[in-house]
Amino acid sequence: MEPFAQSQSMRRYAFLLIIVFAFTIPLFVTSRFYLHVLIMCCIWGMAATSMNLIMGYTGQVNLAHGAFFGIGAYASGLLILKLGFNFWFAMLVACLITVLVGFFMGVLALRTKGSYFAIGTMCFNVIVTVIIDSWDTLTEGARGLLGIPRPPSIPLLFGKEISFSSLVPNYYLVLVFLLFTLFVVHRIVHSMMGKSFAAVRGNEELAESLGINAMGTKLMSFLISTFLAGLAGVLYAAYIGFLSPEISDYHVTFELLVFCLIGGLGTLVGPLIGAFILTIVSELLHGLAFPRLVIYGFLLIIIIIFLREGIAGGVRKLWLKVAQEGGR
């Protein structure tokens, strides 16, 4: 077999193995703490993967991603608490609200390029947080939104049901949505649409001269990524049950950026690796007086100077080298 095809099929088996492993984790991890950490990993992994779509695959540094995460979370929380929506319906509507806000933001901001886009989206992120914080008749402001219920039970055959009151079903819920997110991003990236994303990332003018509508392409990528960010926010709201304006803050955006860059931008598993490693490390070090963000800062600078492709990019390079030598 060709080394490339061989590495492709081996990768497929590796993925399958990891998915099976992920589904069997609750069989031997029973500690509530570790399950909680895993659930947080999945939620942040989803958010980072969605950011990767616009930033890694389309090359637009969107610094409003935390705002979309927050909008999704707040929209679902408010729909459930204030309007009495069913969780699943609220999830759908909240994601659509996020996309709608994303549409207005995208139409305005995507006309700009490079650092201007980064600064413009970041200003938008601050605006969203200030509005959530100040509009307290709607969002309860700095007091935060309390008592968002877990998803309702899903009835099964023979009178059984899946209840989300314990941690294991919640883990499976976020895992399924994480896999959904990865699947969507994977399919997009390997489709014609994904190729036009990459073309715009490479050189916008050149892409336009080939007949690609750069604005439409960027907007499409932006909207899909806001949808997925909103979805991650909805799951966060339902799992944690409490929201405060900080969840839409630009620090959330920065953390997602760190996850993406350390794991490897523009690779499918990179942001996931970054989110898992850093979430686990920071949850384990939670009790200690430890300047987590200072370390993040140094990591970010070192990665951007020396290891541009992050962990996943580094491993891939190594892997290709090994595969090439093996095929010779």
């Binding site: 901001a109 963000l293 800062g297």
Partner: protein
């Protein structure tokens, strides 16, 4: 009427601070094309250095400010050398992301060393003047005067000295300047030293009025970016005028409408301007 005058004076005072911060940023971004997002964090560090010198060491306020400016100039040079120099040939976005790393280091570092609480300066220059129904402390007048002095000094430095001339030459044409034998590394060092020293001066001036805390640089740097995008990259008059406009808008909207939506106004304007003219008001098409 007295509310109006009071707010205008507050606006000019705030505007002085914004101008000084925006001046440093416009030199770094406009001339060197480095979106130094960590400028606000360095501003915060400047405030802490002044605070420590004035309280723990017990220096005179103005001496503390000058020492802080020198210290921050040195930190600025270090930041340029260690972080931005290796990224010189990369896209500005890499520098932007590295700057976010610097913000983590400085802001969270300050949080760990000094704690999250607000530090209050011992009162300096708290003499009060009454004029046409308004109350002005001496510190506010001094802020405006010192800002004018610093701007004049910066102007003289750029127009009258050799190093200033090399900065201007680099701003006009980087490759041309290099061909004329101008050392770009020296220009980069000078610009960063100047820029961060100005930020430190701004922070030291405002510190006795606003409080000193680790998060103080965040809103200021975003406003400075708004100012230089609206006022034109690398434009010194643009940064000064833009800074005063920003200060006045903030003081007046705070006095007449509401202070909680302050940032929504400032950044809303930016998002709208960028939507109409994606390269900024005075940017090249």
């Amino acid at each position: 009427m007295s509310l109006f005058i009071q707010q205008v004076i507050n606006g000019i005072m705030l505007g002085s601070v914004y101008s000084l911060v925006a001046l440093g940023l416009t030199l770094e971004y406009g001339i060197l094309h480095i979106p130094n997002f960590s400028h606000g964090a360095l501003y915060m560090v400047g405030a802490y250095v002044t605070f420590l010198l004035a309280t723990t060491v017990g220096l005179n306020f103005w001496l503390a400010m000058i020492v802080a400016m020198a210290a921050l100039a040195f930190i600025g040079i270090l930041v340029e050398r260690l972080v931005y120099r290796p990224l010189m040939l990369e896209s500005p976005l890499s520098s932007f992301i590295a700057a976010i790393g610097l913000i983590f280091i400085f802001v969270d570092g300050a949080l760990n060393i000094f704690g999250p609480d607000f530090k209050r300066f011992p009162p300096v220059h708290s003499q009060v003047f009454h004029m046409a129904g308004t109350t002005i402390t001496l510190q506010r007048i001094l802020i405006i005067l010192v800002t004018v002095l610093l701007i004049v000094l910066l102007h003289l430095f750029i127009k009258k000295t050799m190093i200033g001339a090399t900065i201007e030459a680099t701003a006009q044409d980087l490759e041309g300047a290099q061909l004329m034998g101008i050392s770009i590394t020296r220009v980069r060092m000078t610009v960063f030293a100047l820029g961060t020293a100005l930020a430190a001066a701004a922070a030291a001036l405002i510190a006795p009025i606003h409080l000193v805390h680790p998060g103080m640089g965040g809103p200021v740097i975003l406003k400075a970016f708004v100012i230089i995008i609206l006022g034109g990259m690398g434009s010194i008059p643009g940064a000064i005028v833009g800074g005063f406009i920003m200060g006045l808008v903030e003081a007046l909207s705070g006095g007449y409408i509401s202070t909680s939506y302050n940032e929504v106004f400032a950044f809303g304007v930016l998002v709208l301007v960028l939507a109409v003219r994606p390269t900024g008001l005075f940017g090249a098409k």
